[in-house]
Subunit: 459 residues, 2 copies
């Protein structure tokens, strides 16, 4: 490939608009030149050439990240996957799809359904986020409870290393213990170790129907009991268990006027359950769900149970949950936490956080919601600059040493690098640095994201 | 820890019997001294001291491996986890169990059930294999179709590195994107990168019942259609889909006289399905299963369907499948393949292998069975030394470049290292070596297993 001009579309840094240097959070980024390869092979060649010149690179997908991972800094070149949009193969018998890394999540979902199959990862940004970005960030979403994070849906991966070496393991099988499973090193490494060119996705059987249920609870203990009961009653058919605190659902339905509160403000917590149905007899399946819910509501002592009777009904309920973006916008300046907490510790940890916020400033507004089935909580705290440090110290302190995580699904990027360095033991950070140095000795891929290698090298 | 004599039980190499130097395959190993730490901290101290002296170590669990990964060679010290048998915690709300690495799989399964929960990984060697060994080998088994390999059931991991550094990330949550997910580097690395001291396991809801079904098929195409149909009909409730070729099931039921063939020799293929039930109304659940099977058998054109009516019935069917150990013993000298094949390629690949075996020697006996739901096939070929090379070349050649694997679940260890080096592109082996060198620069943990580092260093 002597001349790349046909295979790569280049945009100069002065022409590349903020679309190429701002992610969703809009906190980082500087204008940078953009290379947009038209084929996976051209992407490899771009990396090889930049690597020879020791020019640092940042891989870029749909730019819907929330941690500054895809925003370029001065001196870096953006390697964009946006022209790698080909779905290369669907294998209905094996239940796999092979895609280029710039394909959007929504395109994958739709293509799977066209073949009577199902790609279970789902996020609000499905229309713009790419599979390459999903893989780099090990994206989570609403169905992790049953189907796992993106990691669990990736069978094969093709990545280019920072020196231009191509690692192509386009495995189509679930069971593959032939040597170290390198794909798991790249998945979730946020573009710091390799850039994805292709992936083989694992497709699932498509449910005949998905039933949405809203459940009202008065206390957090009741919500946690409902989770245990729902898992017991539905087993793997329970694909979502989302919880909205009053500070969230009332904000959405009353202040923003979005959606309709199924319990008219009477529930402290609104839980959304999604149950997958495979029975050919829809009435029998419905009866099973109704029986289980009747048992659950009796045990829990709540009669606040609404089963969506139509897709429109279900969409109304989900609209409330999906309004998190609008909520964030309305808050103005805010801190966003994306934490995981073992469910057995949730009541205690939230008590500590609530009391602590009161101590810092009783006027601080917080909004709480999350994928509680996985212990993943999103917590937004509206606050101005002077409160950032004490609020971060409070929240990260409350979850230290309890087996949770300071970043459940949004990743580290630039925005949580300092928090990561304080939250993890030095030995663990050091092991991560060894991996980074082994695969990217010249620190060319997304330097400074996730880990501070400069500091490591100067030690 | 100045004096380790209380915390570590030592056995000299002349006293340590073959139990400490032979794994299940019995092909490798030499007498070696054995250190058996009584606590995780003592294991770390053992590694630290041996590391300082540059003495190579081999981690050892239940010695039920099939690739020579746990068998010591001359000059090595065995670090045995067999005294680390404590189940440290069960958290019913979060659905997690924290164990030391020497706990057996069966102990974990039983402890989970005592709490109304379920640890889904299951293998024939459950009574002797340890969680540490399961993690090191990323063990598979009969329920991968729904619950994944061992990797999918590990939330947190504590490992000691070859230099004695302890990496303790005992996460209890599914969602944890805080930095590189180091546990995935250690899982499946067969003891070459770290030794597991503790792990946090993910427990699942316990099904009310598991229904076992035997299905008879005349042709492989029919089996593959049945797989697609069963996944569609049962969704995630389909937890096993095991297939036995006639060369296997007839061997077991007729020659060995084990179990009872549900179709009296009339079926070319016997498929075992396991379906998990969560409905509180057992009759309704049974009706759902019967309806789905009736549809399936009509579509497939087979009336060979038997639903186990009791636990005893189910055990009779599973006994045939579980007799693979006895089959292997009866074969005398044999080659054992543990390969993965995308199901869409299965008919073609098996055709190539069958024709090739005929060409090599029409007298070669083969036995075929496997976890077909995952594309994982076990193939035993009875053959004497002169046929080893052509048969290996045939089988590995037939699955080259089709997105399968030369080792689905048994790993590489010593026995498949050469096969791995020929099957994978050089770039991939080189990337694995970089990881190994980054975490084990002095090549002290299980040297020579999985990768030939000596060759790498001399290049």
């Amino acid at each position: 490939m002597a001349d790349l001009s046909e295979d790569v579309s280049l945009i100069g840094s002065s022409e590349a608009g903020p679309r190429y240097w701002r992610d969703w959070n809009d906190d980082y980024g500087a204008p940078a030149p953009v290379a947009r390869p038209r084929t996976p092979a051209a992407l490899v060649e771009v990396v090889r050439r930049l690597s020879k010149l020791h020019i640092p690179m940042v891989a870029q997908g749909g730019m819907s990240g929330l941690a500054g991972g895809g925003a370029p800094e001065a001196g870096e070149v953006v390697v964009s996957t946006e022209l790698l949009r080909q779905i290369e193969d669907v294998d209905v018998f094996s239940g796999t799809m092979t895609v280029q890394s710039g394909v959007t999540l929504q395109a994958v979902q739709e293509e799977a359904e066209r073949h009577g199959l199902f790609y279970p990862v789902d996020l609000g940004s499905r229309g713009s986020c790419t599979l390459g970005g999903n893989i780099a960030s090990n994206a989570g979403g609403n169905r992790v409870l049953q189907y796992g994070m993106t990691r669990a849906s990736i069978l094969g991966l093709e990545v280019v290393l920072p020196d231009g070496t191509l690692i192509s393991r386009l495995s189509q099988v679930v069971k593959d213990n032939a040597g170290y499973d390198l794909k798991h090193i790249f998945i979730g490494s946020e573009g710091t170790l390799g850039i994805v060119t292709r992936a083989v996705l694992r497709l699932q059987p498509l449910p005949r129907e998905r039933v949405t249920v809203a459940l009202g609870c008065a206390r957090l203990e009741q919500v946690l009991k409902a989770l245990v009961a729902a898992r017991r009653s539905f087993g793997p058919a329970l694909t979502s268990f989302e919880v909205m605190w009053r500070d969230f659902h009332s904000f959405v339905t009353r202040e923003l006027g979005i959606g309709r509160d199924p319990f008219n403000g009477d529930a402290e917590f609104v839980v959304i359950l999604e149950i997958s149905c495979f029975d050919s007899d829809a009435d029998r399946d419905r009866a099973r769900i109704e029986d289980a819910l009747a048992h659950m509501s009796e045990d829990l002592g709540t009669d606040q149970v609404v089963i969506a009777q139509s897709l429109k009904d279900a969409a109304e309920i989900w609209r409330i949950r999906d309004a998190s973006g609008e909520v964030a916008r309305m808050l103005g300046e805010y801190l966003s936490f994306d934490i995981s907490i073992p469910t057995s510790r949730l009541t205690h940890v939230l008590g500590v956080i609530e009391a602590g916020l009161q101590d810092i400033d009783p006027g601080l507004r917080k909004v709480t919601y999350g994928h509680l089935g996985d212990g993943n909580l999103h917590l937004l705290v509206a606050c101005t600059a002077e409160f950032i440090e004490p609020v971060e110290r409070l929240v990260y302190g409350a979850i230290a040493g309890i087996g949770g995580s300071i970043s459940a699904e949004h990743g580290i990027g630039l925005s949580r690098r300092t928090a990561l360095a304080s939250a993890l033991p030095r030995a663990e950070i050091e092991a991560m640095r060894r991996i980074k140095a082994a695969l990217d000795p010249n620190n060319l891929f997304s330097p400074g994201r996730v880990l501070d290698m400069a500091r490591a090298l100067s030690h």
